[in-house]
């Protein structure tokens, strides 16, 4: 059993390290792995060290954390809603965050203000959707899903309106934020620590999640306290998504595609899938971000475009091949 978990996770860990190494080495100035090793030890050329330690490393680690958070949040949402189409944004979370961020940008604020405004918007949207779905009775997965989809559509309209009313000089920044952008990510530690903490907390819950994936009644009959567990997943997934969106804007497809690909390859044991999502989601986003900043350098592409362009064909291929 441990071997069954160990092998895929070690492979994914290796892939993640390789992707990080690539992200540190590639760019306007190429740096070989041996040089990177020296730089991490505190040796080597001072200019190269500044570039790697203060620009590339924080950005790569942020990308890793955001990708991991989105993939784990997607996997959780899919279990919570028992719907394979659920993703971290399905409950209108990214819409809420976007409105917060765009409003801050419209107001001419920058940096931290945009982040906190986005975080506030994400949480507001979460509570709004949950409150509306709860209604006078209890919430059910299908009601939560429908409410989320409709609220997200509403946010979409507001976003378009804000873009239409914005002064032209602010538009590029806003569009980049909407498609996901890691160039403002400077401190990778909060999302990275959140990702680590989540994995540690979720692994012992993994088997309960497996049972919950078979339906609430079956789960209750097998001894799972269904409502508390569902609450816990909902809050966790929302928090993870909010942290990811706050760090890097709304990046699509990672949360939907990564858990799916892993389920097709590794089966459906959440104890394996959740840590695997953290590693694979992180790896994917590190690679996508490296591509985004090198493909048409010195110009940068929005990383969300790359995740979609990479994720969609891979996903469709795996789906086509699956039994």
């Amino acid at each position: 059993m441990l071997a069954r978990l160990g092998l895929p996770l070690s492979l994914l860990l290796l892939a993640a390290l390789a992707a990080l190494l690539l992200a540190l080495g590639v760019g306007s100035a190429q740096i070989s792995p041996a040089q990177i090793w020296d730089l991490l030890q505190g040796e080597g050329d001072a200019l190269a060290r500044t570039m790697v330690m203060e620009l590339r490393l924080p950005r790569a680690l942020s990308a890793f954390a955001v990708g991991g958070l989105l993939a784990v949040a997607g996997a959780l949402m899919q279990v919570l809603l028992r719907n394979p189409l659920a993703d971290p944004y399905v409950l209108g979370l990214s819409g809420g965050a976007s409105i917060g961020a765009l409003a801050a940008m419209l107001g001419g604020l920058g940096g931290l203000a945009i982040s906190s405004s986005a975080f506030g918007g994400a949480l507001f949207s979460t509570f709004l959707v949950f409150g509306l779905a709860h209604g006078s009775g209890g919430w059910t997965p299908s009601r939560l899903l429908l409410t989320g989809v409709v609220v997200a559509a509403g946010w979409g309209a507001v976003i378009t309106l804000m873009l239409a009313l914005s002064p032209a000089e602010r538009l590029p920044g806003m569009l980049y934020w909407l498609m996901g952008d890691l160039s403002y990510a400077r401190t990778p530690w909060p999302p990275l620590l959140l990702l680590l903490a989540t994995c540690v907390v979720l692994i012992p819950l993994g088997r309960s999640l497996n049972v919950l994936a078979r339906g609430p009644q079956q789960a209750a009959a097998l001894g799972v306290a269904v409502r508390p567990l569902e609450w816990c997943i909902y809050v966790a997934a929302s928090l993870l998504t909010a942290a990811a969106v706050t760090t890097a804007g709304s990046i699509g497809f990672v949360g939907l595609v990564v858990p799916h690909m892993l389920r097709l390859l590794l089966g459906n044991d959440q104890r394996l899938i959740l840590p695997a999502c953290a590693l694979a989601g992180g790896t994917l986003l590190v690679l996508a971000d490296t591509l985004a900043r090198t493909m048409i350098a010195p110009e940068q592409l929005p990383v969300g475009v790359i995740t979609a362009l990479l994720g969609v064909p891979t996903f469709l291929f795996l789906l086509y091949r699956s039994r």
């Binding site: 441990l2 078979r214 339906g215 209750a220 001894g223």
Partner: protein, 256 residues
């Protein structure tokens, strides 16, 4: 010493006013059949007995403690439920499905061990589905899925079996095999309560019977005092002919 008992229990069927309060005492080794027409509340009763649904009034006692006060995990170690219909969430193999029967016994950090796998495999063999162990449940036939569901509860090894139409979708041989399994469980000291639509299975395999009417009325007792043609005809509003085969009554609906 009762393993499961109801105290003035009235189940919560939407749109129904009251009914007969159930005061039933189920002891180890008994096999109860719950009979009644569609919509009489048989499934609701089983879910209430399992603690999945709150009663309108009264209470259920599991080993003399109120079911509502017990932790779900504690309940699941003692009481297992074969559902009438199952939701397919994510794809899972037959072996994985049987293995979740061990969930109530494992601590959060614990992985399934060799013993858990052995129990699941034994249960699959007992239900004649061991050859399907690596197949996805969603690719099985209705009867095979039913047997996998029973194998899951067999892996769970509860003292109280609640089975909602356990012979659904099964061919004649497997119907008989499942009833024999229930009888065997009872002989080992477990209590079995099952909803049935087949009077003849009830007559052959159950020792106690609960009749549930759509109005909410109910009566219960030893099988021979309950399976009386006149009572069954009014229960189902269907004329019946009775013949004796192999030492048990056989009920056949007749026209008119």
């Amino acid at each position: 010493m009762s393993v499961l008992a109801t105290r003035d229990l009235i189940i919560d069927v939407p749109g129904r006013e009251g009914g007969t309060p159930l005061n039933i005492t189920i002891e180890p080794g008994q096999v109860w059949g719950v009979l009644g027409p569609n919509g009489a509340g048989k499934t609701t009763l089983l879910h209430t007995l399992a603690g999945l649904q709150a009663p309108r009034s009264g209470s259920v006692q599991l080993n003399e403690s109120a079911l509502g006060q017990l932790r779900r995990r504690h309940v699941a170690q003692r009481l297992g439920l074969v559902f009438q219909d199952r939701q397919d969430g994510f794809p899972a193999t037959v072996l994985e499905t049987a293995l979740i029967g061990r969930h109530p016994y494992l601590s959060p950090w614990q992985m399934e061990g060799a013993d858990d796998y052995a129990r699941a495999e034994t249960a699959l063999e007992r239900m004649d589905v061991a050859h399907l162990r690596d197949r996805l449940v969603s690719t099985l036939s209705g009867g095979e899925r039913q047997r996998v569901a029973i194998a899951t509860v067999l892996t769970q090894a509860p003292n109280v079996w609640l089975a909602d139409e356990p012979t659904n979708h099964l061919d004649l041989h497997h119907q008989s095999a499942v009833m024999a399994l229930m009888a065997e469980q009872a002989a080992q000291g477990q209590a079995v309560i099952m909803c049935l639509h087949d009077l003849n299975l009830a007559a052959r395999w159950c020792d106690h019977v609960l009749l549930m009417y759509p109005s909410g009325e109910a009566c219960w007792g030893p099988r021979d005092s309950m399976l009386v043609p006149s009572a069954l005809e009014s229960l189902y509003r269907q004329k019946l002919a009775v013949v004796e085969v192999d030492g048990a009554p056989v009920f056949v609906p007749i026209k008119g």
